[in-house]
């Protein structure tokens, strides 16, 4: 009897299982109860596909070559079909449990073959018939050419009618060089193709990662550029959130941000729409903005907290999320997918994070290099052949630059630190904050460097920002001064503050502007009042105001004939009636209620989940998983009497194997009353949780429910 994958996994050392979990982290969540469950999961289609996607081109090619052989497979065979250098790749495939050992040989789990495809490397099915290649010498005209054309796949050929095929094809069919598949299709047998491929599966194999090329840069310049990018990016984030706080865009019905709002935002920030979409996406992912219950898109409380942190912490909070996210903001607004909107539900793409990490690691391996996009693409194509996407690579490089992970296109030391969870060192690289401004005669003020947060906030309330960058240019005008006064400052306070903060004397026109505005500010008074009470009889007004019973209403006298209160109209009316007055309600229009200055969403932050990305578990998690697995294994190693009892997962695994090997089986099958009977069957296929097999007792094709199969064994012939 041959080994199953579960058997082989049982024989692996603890460290090898741990390695498997590191290479295929999806197998560990949740921790499988025992080895059979692990084997079943490792052979499940989603997990196999994921494992395949993590392979580089070289490994995939070797796996494909292995799949062209039937089980069991000898290592020599694999090496001779591919290359002598394939040993490490074979080892790596084994470590990932994409192949497993059976004594000296290897076997391929059934779903791995499915994942590689029906025609691995463009090779057709094997044939049982004998092929005499010496016959080819006397083949009719055109026959060899025809074969040559099919050698590198696809192995299928179309003819109008196999029975009336031209003589060359007829001859090939007769001599088993082609197999008729149906009336219009012929197949090239694997053996024939391999003969013409001279025993090799692939024309050429690339065992080594391609190198990337580009312009070389100096690390000092890179870091300078990156710091500029980081500063700019943080500013974009702040500016966008502040802007959306003032004018919140309304989310689309289908979810996400409308094109017009995106355009407006990009114009406001002075950046391209793709860049604005990128900034918005990251703020969204970080939970700094949210689509509120009323569909308004607004900053959250988390944004206020974020603002209080240092630049380094702010950047790290966002950049680390960018590394993990499965959302690809480059897709937004592309002509071919018009309805994909920023913050919308359609941005998740499998493999984004993998390509991102690979791309950045490439940059990390090539320090001081601003690579050409083409060469990175070629490299990514090799690293992740099944997932590579040249658009993604271009967008990732672009986004890395916006974020400041790269500077001048090459990876910055901050980017490297981010990738390796090290101390970022951004704070020290940032230009020193300045604590003063220069005020000029044209009522502008210039902060010749980044301002401390407190100072920036203080000036921001009394001046408008005209230009941003390394420095900030502010302009004082009537509206901006008024804003400061609205925030509760006084004219004198503003003047003192400016005198203290400005390195240059305050020009007289500005001083006048501030005093003038301060003088006029507040001459008109606006307040909140819920209800008013008016009466032409001033005596009655006075009476109400002094009525002890009405004291809880806390009414205020605005004018001899008008009182106001903060109490709801119904409550006020009731209280007045109880006190013996006879009030009548009035159409209550014209009461101004001004909105709060800074608006925040009422909902809590709910950033989108990361989809289809599984992070690599820590060593501790892996170790405890291995322990749990071994415990489970002991518990389930209880053997049944006749046919070894297997779990449903194991059953499926075994059945797959036996179907492949076309072996006659005895199975234990539980009936509806729980009684177990043995059946002798020829398994045919598995579908929808049932085994399709020919039952020897009846001689008919029968469906067996897999959960009711208690065990599977090879029938003794």
């Amino acid at each position: 009897m041959s080994y199953s994958l579960a058997d082989e996994l049982r024989m692996r050392a603890e460290s090898e299982i741990a390695l498997l979990f590191t290479l295929r982290p999806d197998l560990i969540s949740p921790v499988p109860p025992d080895m059979s469950a692990l084997a079943a999961r490792a052979n499940s289609m989603p997990s196999v596909m994921r494992a395949r996607d993590a392979l580089n081109k070289w490994e995939i090619d070797i796996l494909t070559a292995i799949c062209t052989l039937g089980d069991p497979i000898s290592r020599m065979e694999v090496l001779s079909m591919t290359s002598k250098d394939a040993k490490p790749a074979v080892l790596s495939l084994w470590q990932r449990a994409l192949i497993y050992k059976d004594g000296e040989h290897y076997r391929v789990p059934s779903n791995v073959r499915v994942a590689i495809g029906e025609h691995p490397a463009g090779l057709g099915p094997t044939t049982t018939k004998k092929i005499d290649f010496s016959l080819l010498e006397e083949a009719p005209k055109g026959a060899t050419d025809l074969l040559q054309r099919m050698v590198w796949g696809p192995p299928k050929g179309q003819v109008t009618d196999v029975k009336k095929a031209p003589p060359a094809i007829k001859w090939l069919i007769t001599n088993n060089f082609l197999i008729p598949f149906d009336s219009q299709t012929v197949l090239l047998p694997r053996e024939v193709a391999l003969h013409f491929r001279e025993g090799k599966v692939f024309k050429e194999l690339q065992a080594i990662e391609p190198t990337i090329t580009g312009t070389s840069r100096k690390q000092k310049d890179i870091n300078l550029a990156a710091i500029a990018n980081i500063g700019t990016f943080i500013r974009w984030c702040e500016e966008l959130a502040h802007n959306w706080s003032d004018e919140p865009p309304v989310g689309l019905k289908s979810g996400g941000l409308g094109v017009r709002d995106l355009k407006r935002t990009s114009e406001h920030l002075g950046i391209s729409e793709s860049c604005a979409a990128f900034v918005a996406e990251l703020l969204f992912i970080a939970g700094l903005i949210v689509i509120d219950t009323d569909d308004q898109i607004m900053p959250t409380n988390a944004f206020d907290i974020w603002l209080t942190r240092s630049i380094e912490e702010r950047w790290h909070a966002i950049a680390s999320l960018w590394l993990e996210t499965s959302r690809m903001s480059g897709l937004i607004g592309k002509t071919e997918n018009k309805n994909i909107s920023a913050l919308g539900p359609e941005l998740d793409r499998a493999g984004v994070s993998l390509i991102k990490r690979n791309t950045l690691e490439l940059l990390e391996k090539n320090l001081e290099l601003d690579p050409s996009i083409d060469s990175v693409n070629i490299c990514i194509q090799w690293l992740t052949p099944t997932r590579a996407n040249s658009d993604y690579v271009e967008w990732i490089l672009r986004e890395a630059e916006w974020l400041g992970i790269t500077g001048q296109g090459a990876i910055s030391s901050f980017g490297i630190a981010l990738l390796n969870n090290q101390d970022l060192g951004i704070e020290t690289a940032l230009p020193k904050p300045v604590d003063h401004i220069l005020i000029q005669a044209d009522n502008s003020a210039i902060a010749p460097g980044p301002l401390t947060i407190e100072l920036a906030n203080a000036i921001g309330t009394i001046a408008d920002i005209e230009s941003r960058g390394g420095a900030t240019v502010y302009r004082f005008n009537e509206a901006s001064i008024r804003r400061g006064l609205d925030h509760g400052q006084t004219g004198n306070y503003i003047l003192d503050f400016l005198k203290k903060t400005s390195k240059t004397p305050i020009p007289q026109p500005l001083e006048y502007l501030i005093t003038d505005v301060a003088k006029r500010h507040g001459r008109l008074r606006v307040g909140n009042a819920h209800t008013y009470l008016r009466c032409e009889d001033e005596g009655l007004i006075a009476e109400i105001l002094h009525d002890k019973k009405l004291e809880p209403l806390q009414m205020r006298k605005l004018a001899p004939q008008v009182l106001v209160s903060d109490i709801e109209i119904n409550e006020l009316m009731n209280s007045l009636r109880e006190a013996g007055y006879l009030p009548a309600a009035e159409n209550a229009t014209g009461v101004l209620i001004s909105a709060p200055l800074i608006r925040r969403a009422k909902s809590r932050p709910k950033p989108p989940r990361v989809v289809s990305e599984i992070s690599i578990p820590t060593q501790a998690v892996i170790n405890s998983a291995v322990k749990a697995l071994q415990a489970g294994e002991k518990a389930s190693s209880h053997k049944p009497r006749d046919i070894p009892r297997t779990t449903a997962n194991e059953t499926v695994e075994l059945l797959h194997q036996y179907i492949e090997e076309r072996v006659r089986l005895t199975i234990g099958y539980a009936d509806t009353n729980g009684g177990v009977s043995n059946r002798l069957i020829d398994p045919l296929s598995i579908s929808l949780g049932t085994l399709v097999a020919r039952d020897h007792a009846t001689g008919e094709i029968t469906h067996f429910r897999i959960p009711r199969i208690t065990g599977v064994g090879v029938a003794n012939e």
Binding site: G409, P448, G470, P509
Partner: protein
């Protein structure tokens, strides 16, 4: 990180710290590609515009030089995206070329057929083009050179113009430097213009723009058409040319409402050029009367619309625009640049002042408090009459008169907008009033008397806003103006900026009615000068009146 004088902002403005030891060097380095936007006391603002970058390309600078300069002087790291953008913008220049073709006349050529295809698809461009000769060449309809260049500029594919300029009819002109010599900035401006072919020279009022014009003529040595704002200015130009160049009286013609002379050097007024008879511009033919080698537009910021249109037709002639204040409240600055040519020379006012070529000026805003009654009337006035009402109040007049009397020893100009107000002021002060309906002869007589010092004070309307050369005027009192016009304020200050024989400074009073629209307009009016570093002092009218 270097500690340079320059801060590069992400909105493409450059802030130059002029107190930095390297600021002078840096200013010279960035001048070829960055446009000076404002120059107050401490930090000057320059801006990188596509036009400026393309001009730098045209002058032989490449993107690498520009980027190097920015990196060299920058205090902080320069955003990479901005550098990429500069390189990208500059690389667009010269992909299209306008060339002269022996058979087809003017042709548009590009080595990049894709670019050519892109621009020929443009709705505005297509009608200006004729037959496509091959993938890289298209015939341009004659006379469309100016419009085509303008349209291509808007599309972001500026054409390099190799078609050249016509030399025009040769006429010998040279500077006659006897008892005076051309200043360095003047000759730099003239040379900057000459190498560029066409363009605008911006110099402060009183800094001698006429001499730049004369120097340009000496470079061209060809027949010249000079367009000026009014007849008085035309005569000043003539006098100045006679004094500074080898030209004789009979070589200079005046083409105005009074005379219609066409001579090798002809000075025409905008007014006569835009005069219409029977719906057609009767005098535009002057542009074709002689094969002009050079056309000078004085006070180019005032260029009227018909001249704009006509200028587009004469792109093969060299054009020089002169102005002190290229700000237009109608936002047409861009049109001026694309039709006359780019800014070739600009220098901060304070820079010229520090060299002693214009007088230092003290700008004073006098805040006048209206009486209770005036305030009430103001509050109830119609919206459109409010400015007129508050700027012509009796209180203001009293203050103006008091100020004029206090400066009875100096040469004083009282400038205003409203004729009744000016007449009243003239009467009260007992001095002549010059306004729109004053005949040219009378104007000249009065100005001459004023220059001679026989009249100490003149009341003038906006006719004296521009081009009037009154070297000894030291005090200007502005009582009202054209609402919030920034250039008017600057031009009026310009009347008193000629350096004084005794080195005295000038003083500019602007009377503003407190808490009215006058104050809002004043704030806008002062912006240009404030940006040039003229800090206004504010005093209260009571201070003036108490001295009485």
């Amino acid at each position: 990180m270097s500690d340079g004088p320059l801060i590069v902002q992400s909105d493409k403005t450059l802030l130059l710290d002029i107190d930095h030891p390297l600021s002078d060097e840096c200013r010279r380095a960035i001048a070829p590609f960055a446009e000076l936007e404002k120059s107050p006391e401490h930090i000057h603002t320059y801006r990188l515009t596509p036009l400026g970058l393309w001009n730098a390309r045209a002058a032989g600078h490449d993107a690498e030089q520009v980027v190097d300069t920015l990196l060299k002087y920058s205090r902080f790291a320069v955003p990479h995206a901005l550098l990429v953008d500069i390189a990208e913008t500059m690389s667009r220049y010269g992909r299209l070329r306008l060339e002269a073709h022996p058979v087809h006349g003017l042709i548009l050529v590009s080595n990049d057929p894709a670019v050519l295809r892109e621009v020929t698809r443009g709705k505005k461009v297509a009608p200006m083009l004729g037959l496509q000769l091959d993938d890289e060449t298209i015939v341009v309809h004659p006379g469309q050179r100016g419009f085509l260049k303008q349209a291509l500029l808007k599309l972001g594919w500026p054409a390099e113009d190799f078609a050249g300029y016509v030399d025009g009819q040769h006429h010998e002109i040279a500077l006659r430097e006897e008892g005076w010599s051309i200043r360095k900035y003047q000759s730099m401006a003239a040379e900057g213009f000459w190498h560029g072919g066409s363009g605008v020279v911006v110099l402060p009022c009183g800094a001698g723009k006429t001499i730049v014009g004369a120097a340009a003529m000496a470079h061209a040595k060809a027949t010249t058409l000079i367009l000026v704002t009014n007849t008085v200015a035309a005569r000043q130009w003539r006098d100045e040319l006679l004094r500074r160049t080898t030209l004789h009286e009979d070589e200079i013609g005046e083409y105005s409402g009074a005379k219609k002379e066409i001579r090798p050097v002809t000075i025409a007024t905008y007014q006569v050029m835009t005069m219409r008879r029977g719906g057609v511009y009767a005098h535009l033919d002057l542009f074709d009367a002689i094969d002009w080698g050079l056309i000078i537009y004085d006070e180019v910021h005032l260029l009227p619309a018909p001249i704009f249109r006509f200028t587009a037709d004469i792109q093969s002639r060299r054009r020089l625009g002169l102005t002190a204040t290229l700000v237009r409240e109608d936002g047409m600055e861009g049109e001026v640049f694309s039709l006359i040519g780019p800014k070739r020379f600009d220098v901060p006012w304070k820079e010229i002042e520090s060299q002693g070529y214009i007088a230092p000026a003290d700008c004073v805003e006098v805040r006048v408090t209206l009486t209770e009654e005036e305030r009430l009337n103001y509050a109830t006035a119609e919206q459109e009459d409010r400015y007129r009402f508050c700027s012509t109040t009796l209180t203001k007049r009293k203050v103006a008169v008091a100020l004029a009397r206090q400066h009875s020893e100096d040469q004083v100009l009282v400038i205003g907008q409203y004729i009744d107000q000016l007449d009243a002021l003239g009467e009260e002060l007992g001095v002549p009033v010059i306004k729109g309906d004053t005949p040219v002869k009378e104007r000249e007589r009065l100005f001459n008397l004023y220059r001679a010092g026989e009249i100490k004070c003149l009341v003038v309307s906006k006719v004296a806003n521009f081009s009037i050369d009154l070297p000894d005027a030291t005090i200007a009192i502005q009582v009202s103006g054209t609402f919030g016009s920034r250039q008017e304020e600057a031009q009026r200050l310009g009347r008193i900026l000629r350096p004084k024989a005794d080195g005295r400074g000038a003083r500019f009073y602007s009377l503003v009615a407190r808490d009215t629209v006058d104050q809002d307009f004043a704030q806008n009016r002062q912006r240009f000068l404030a940006e040039q570093g003229y800090a206004y002092r504010i005093i209260d009218a009571d201070e003036v009146l108490s001295k009485e």
